[in-house]
Symmetry: C3
Subunit: 239 residues, 3 copies
Amino acid sequence: MPVITLTTDFGTGSPYVAAMKAKLLAGCPDAVLVDVTHTVPPFAILSGAFLLWAGTRDFPPGCVHLAVVDPGVGGVRRAVALQLNGSWYVGPDNGIFGQVLEELGRPGLAVELRRPPDASATFEGRDVFAPAAAALAAGTPASELGTELEGEPVRLPRREPSVLWVDTFGNLITALKPPVSGVRVNGQDVRVGAPTYSQAPWNTPFFYVGSLGYIEVGVREARADQRLGAGPGTPVEPL
Amino acid sequence: MPVITLTTDFGTGSPYVAAMKAKLLAGCPDAVLVDVTHTVPPFAILSGAFLLWAGTRDFPPGCVHLAVVDPGVGGVRRAVALQLNGSWYVGPDNGIFGQVLEELGRPGLAVELRRPPDASATFEGRDVFAPAAAALAAGTPASELGTELEGEPVRLPRREPSVLWVDTFGNLITALKPPVSGVRVNGQDVRVGAPTYSQAPWNTPFFYVGSLGYIEVGVREARADQRLGAGPGTPVEPL
Amino acid sequence: MPVITLTTDFGTGSPYVAAMKAKLLAGCPDAVLVDVTHTVPPFAILSGAFLLWAGTRDFPPGCVHLAVVDPGVGGVRRAVALQLNGSWYVGPDNGIFGQVLEELGRPGLAVELRRPPDASATFEGRDVFAPAAAALAAGTPASELGTELEGEPVRLPRREPSVLWVDTFGNLITALKPPVSGVRVNGQDVRVGAPTYSQAPWNTPFFYVGSLGYIEVGVREARADQRLGAGPGTPVEPL
């Protein structure tokens, strides 16, 4: 059964998520729907790009990943479907696929989606992206949904390494990759390393290779973000 | 595969939602379950009625929509299943179906559900409504689940037009329908109109026809609710 | 279709939940996934044990219940699969299954799960528990996933009766079972009993037998937790 995942900034409990699922199931009745997250901060394309990648990277080829963080809805930004690693990524061409593109390289196929004439100008997630995602999941060739994308999809801006995300436990997921011998965060040097939380000293920030393959900074059973005064966007440096 | 949606005020992460899903899957193993929302404010029938309608209106006929916002659980209010537009709405007869009734008209069939003698007096969502919803999704005739409803189902109270809901982005969904040439909200006249956010001026409240067919008021990439001091229930007037 | 439920402390909207679901669907493509909760307070094994039991008790035999509240991830605590009442419970052996064990008795089968050599040291939910849960749901014999558990699984500590959980409405779910003629909570005696909220007096704490079979304390359409200054862990005594 085809898997379709959803990543949005609609908020927990928004009826707009169900509205998109109505269209997904109408177009692909046997789809398995998996929520990645609906709590991307409003309009936060950079955060959304990270969460989309983090929540979809473990799915096998053959899935459809729908992402709607879309402050430019109804305007001139393009609507796209990008094929990467055998799966389709569907949403606005505003950078939301930037982290996936950084990790997975150039898309195999890239289509600019046609906009149905009766689509709402404020909710293309329901009227453009969900129908396209459902069609792709149901096996419709992408060429029937639009035309080949001209040029490149929008990528993330070049930027200094920073904290990409803070998880529920307060751990900092940084943009650094191993190997490092430490991390400087917010002017503080973290030089203690440990393989996992339960092997780290108590009450001490430490770094480790996280489950996403990036360097993370944590404090055992406590919040590294509060301890270090850091959050998404805080600059980091390798030591 | 039959679709069953869920709308409750149980809160994010409540194990009571899973308890209802256990009964839904026991009674209809091939059902596809879709959460509309579980963050209706506690006991807020008017908000729940709006969210139920907003989250289910895009589903095709043949679905079952379960709604449990039920301060009168275990008491004298009736348990009902209402057939509207070819789908079933199942829950307490306390007004939770009021917005759906306003939009879709009188039910085709209406049944007062039988209460199993061993049902919990505090959780009929699990013991009355979920089993009935599952049975309807599995094709059981409604007549086997109870008796024809006497009189009319409870409707929403007559009320002045107001803000029905504030979405995650701070946009105001009002009870007004187009055409209008503006909206008065909380004593402030909003006369700027735009087709969508990305075509609106910055930093200025504007009105538009939202994706639900109602007039909405927004501020481009900012929060109209804070800007205008408005929230659910704030009166609105067409200009 | 096999049902797999998920109970974690990953937080609402965490991409790590989707990562586990990717592995669940890879190992058991026709599984029906049901979220119990992802808002167990971080590292709170006692709360998690309650929510796991409350959210899974209504499922029939033959399900797989995955629970990941796991401060000791990557360390010496064991990874287990316990068969209770015909369903499998999969997760860390740290007490998270304590409430289920108290309610359902000793496991029929108990297996210490093998750890794949390439498993992340910080996310065994994705790399150890989800693959094992999927395999069990797909019919793999437990003996292929590890070895018979030595000794007993970890149980909850012995403790005085207390408030186990506060629901979204502010009702106190206590560890007391009926019959009682009242409950002392935080030094206050609650002697008024009622079968359900809508039959209770207004503005008065009352006790009732809740839908989980425990004694609960509520205030009609108001918050008993605030009224009585009580929360999870507040001691209670039967009267």
